[in-house]
């Protein structure tokens, strides 16, 4: 089953001068695929990922996720769509520093409000256990090590059982031991839970172990 489909996605940046950062990008992603997006620095990987993630809406062409056309929807509709269908992991883990680890994981689910607060809490605990950071649950988020924070960020990304996890250099900021842990977590989610994952990475080793590699060059993809 196809969960993500882009057709002829083209994007320009206008400052400092007009410049085509994405050039007619068309590809499809099947359910359960663990896909890595690689390419030279500045070739447009992050830019493409933001378009796929629905956060960036100024592009030409179309993006569909779950057979739903997302191009042209309002920002607030897209926020709700992300809440439901997309889990994010960034290079810098971006947890909310005032909240505890558990609260950070719970927030997107509280926003979705599909389950009761108690259910959300037990689901969050379950995810933290899965990622091996349950012992830190009641710590302030900014008191964790980088590797631990990244695992919490992954727990947050999967709390709403998203259609796709999107990760921008999730191991870019981690040592090899922690990178290995993160890769194994993604791999486990993909094989055991049939989770679709798109990860931008510079890590050759990481990319080589994924199901599929998409290479980018100057805003184009080589299929």
């Amino acid at each position: 089953m196809i969960v993500l489909k882009t057709s002829q996605v083209t994007k320009y940046f206008f400052s400092p001068e007009k410049f085509k950062v994405l050039d007619s990008v068309s590809f499809e992603v099947r359910r359960g695929e663990f896909l890595s997006l690689v390419g030279k620095s500045g070739c447009g990987k992050s830019t493409l990922l933001y378009v796929l993630s629905t956060m960036d809406t100024s592009y030409e062409g179309t993006v569909e996720i779950n057979q739903q056309l997302l191009t042209g929807k309002s920002k607030d509709d897209l926020s709700e769509f992300r809440n439901n269908h997309i889990g994010f992991v960034f290079q810098f883990h971006y947890l909310l520093p005032e909240f505890t680890v558990l609260q950070n994981v719970m927030l997107p689910a509280l926003k979705l409000a599909k389950y009761s607060k108690d259910e959300i809490e037990s689901r969050a605990i379950e995810k933290l256990k899965l990622l091996g950071v349950y012992s830190q649950a009641n710590k302030q988020a900014n008191k964790l090590s980088g590797g631990e924070q990244q695992r919490v960020a992954i727990a947050r990304a999967i709390i709403n059982d998203p259609t796709i996890i999107m990760a921008d250099e999730p191991t870019g900021n981690l040592d090899s031991a922690n990178s290995k842990i993160v890769f194994e977590l993604f791999d486990e989610l993909s094989t055991n839970f049939n989770q679709t994952i798109i990860a931008v990475t510079h890590d050759k080793d990481f990319a080589s172990k994924t199901n599929r590699i998409i290479e980018m060059e100057d805003g184009r993809i080589n299929l």
Binding site: S46, Y50, S53, M55, D56, K75, D76, S79, E80, R82, N83, N84, F88, F90, Y94, L95, L96, P97, E98, F99, Q103, L107, P108, L110, K111, L112, A113, R156, N160
Partner: protein, 416 residues
């Protein structure tokens, strides 16, 4: 449902920056406290003055105004204004209202009128030993006068019944009695403008609370004053009246002036200077309070802007994980409103304490007003205004930064 979530995020944000939040709230606290204390005091003063003034002044006062400016016979004969007379001397005019009993009758028939009190007033000298003080004696039907000015409640010594039961009796103003060093039971000599001397018995002392009256006036029975002035029973110089609706005074006074052809002065005109001072006090209070709230508002505006600047990343992450612009805006607006609510409630308490403090300050009016402490108004409505102003100010101050927060584009932040 969402409101519960955004409120709890707002609370966490506020608690993680206790110092900044408290400073913002303190700004509101001082603003509201000043508002409460100032309005309590200013309106306290206004009420006191208004009450004292209204209790002592008639709504309409009808009297015979002596006019010096009158067309002279010479001028009337030479109609082309070839001759103009300057500095005419006043004619010997009688000061009374000629058809007084008819006027009184018609006033009593008027359904808008609450009470009518006719009087004969004369300037006199009060003699006591070697002391001679100028003042007035008003001859009244004391029951009518009591209906208008509640004299019975203003008696320091004696009562109005004592006046009714004695002839040649007077009730004397407290200030006047003090200057003359006389008490109930003493006798006093008065000299009329035409030079006659009479002896009157002081049967009571009243204090209205306005120096201008208490220092110069005494009341006698109407017949007594008519006799002193050697006038007959129809001689009436003034008619005072109170209306059921005091705010109709101006209109009705004009109407009476036209029908009776005498001067009819309403209380607002008679007390214009005091009323102007009310307006000025209100303007000063308003200006001060607006300034303070504006400063508090700018404080909150700045702090919210700073907070939002610091929280850019958090806002981006909230939006990336599915929070809408409205959610983000609500999170920050709620923070602002919580600051306003807590600051405002503390402000009300502080304002109340300040008002209590002001009330304890001794205030010597030199007998001009019947009080010895600062007047303070504790009306609930000012507390309601206070908290509303606080919330409105913080709402407005928080609205624009919050709106800005709602519009933040997460991609801009995450791209770095």
């Amino acid at each position: 449902m969402n409101l519960k979530l955004t409120t709890s995020i707002a609370k966490t944000h506020l608690l993680s920056r206790k110092k900044q939040s408290s400073i913002a709230a303190l700004g509101v606290t001082f603003g509201i406290a000043m508002f409460i204390a100032m309005t309590a005091f200013m309106t306290g003063v206004n009420h006191l003055l208004e009450e004292t003034m209204l209790s002592a002044s008639p709504h309409i006062h009808i009297y015979n105004d002596i006019k010096t400016e009158r067309p002279s016979i010479v001028e009337e004969l030479f109609l082309e204004k070839k001759i103009i007379i300057h500095h005419q001397r006043p004619k010997l005019e009688k000061k009374n209202l000629r058809n007084a009993s008819q006027i009184i009758h018609r006033l009593q028939e008027d359904k808008r009128v609450f009470g009518v009190s006719p009087s004969v007033s004369s300037q006199v000298f009060y003699n006591y030993g070697n002391l001679q003080l100028s003042g007035f004696v008003s001859g009244v039907n004391i029951e009518d006068e009591d209906r208008l000015f509640s004299l019975n409640t203003k008696m320091k010594e004696g009562s109005i019944e004592d006046l009714m039961m004695n002839s040649n009796a007077v009730l004397m103003g407290a200030g006047l009695a003090k200057k003359l060093n006389v008490h109930k039971g003493d006798r006093i000599n008065i000299t009329t403008p035409s030079g006659e001397i009479f002896t009157l018995n002081i049967v009571g002392i009243f204090q209205i609370g306005i120096g201008q009256i208490d220092d110069v006036r005494s009341y006698a029975n109407i017949g007594t004053v008519q006799r002193i002035l050697q006038k007959n029973k129809n001689y009436i110089t003034d008619i005072n009246l109170k209306l059921k609706d005091l705010y109709q005074s101006k209109k009705i006074a004009a109407e009476y002036a036209k029908t009776f052809n005498y001067k009819a002065e309403d209380w607002e005109t008679a007390n214009a200077t005091i009323l102007i001072s009310f307006t000025l006090r209100n303007v000063i209070t308003g200006a001060t309070v607006i300034t303070i709230l504006l400063v508090a508002g700018f404080g909150i505006y700045n702090i919210m802007n700073m907070t939002i600047y610091e929280k850019m990343k958090d806002i981006a992450i909230l939006k990336a994980t599915g929070f809408t612009s409205k959610d983000v805006m609500l999170i920050f607006l709620t923070q602002s409103l919580i600051i306003g609510l807590i600051g405002g409630i503390l402000g009300l308490c502080l304002g109340f304490l300040m008002s209590l403090g002001i009330e304890k300050i001794p205030f010597n009016t030199g007998g001009f007003l019947a009080i010895d402490h600062m007047p303070v108004n504790f009306a609930i409505k000012f507390y309601i205004y206070g908290i509303s102003f606080g919330l409105i100010t913080t709402f407005v101050a928080g609205f624009f930064p919050s709106k800005k927060a709602g519009r933040i584009d997460p991609v801009d932040i995450i791209r770095g």
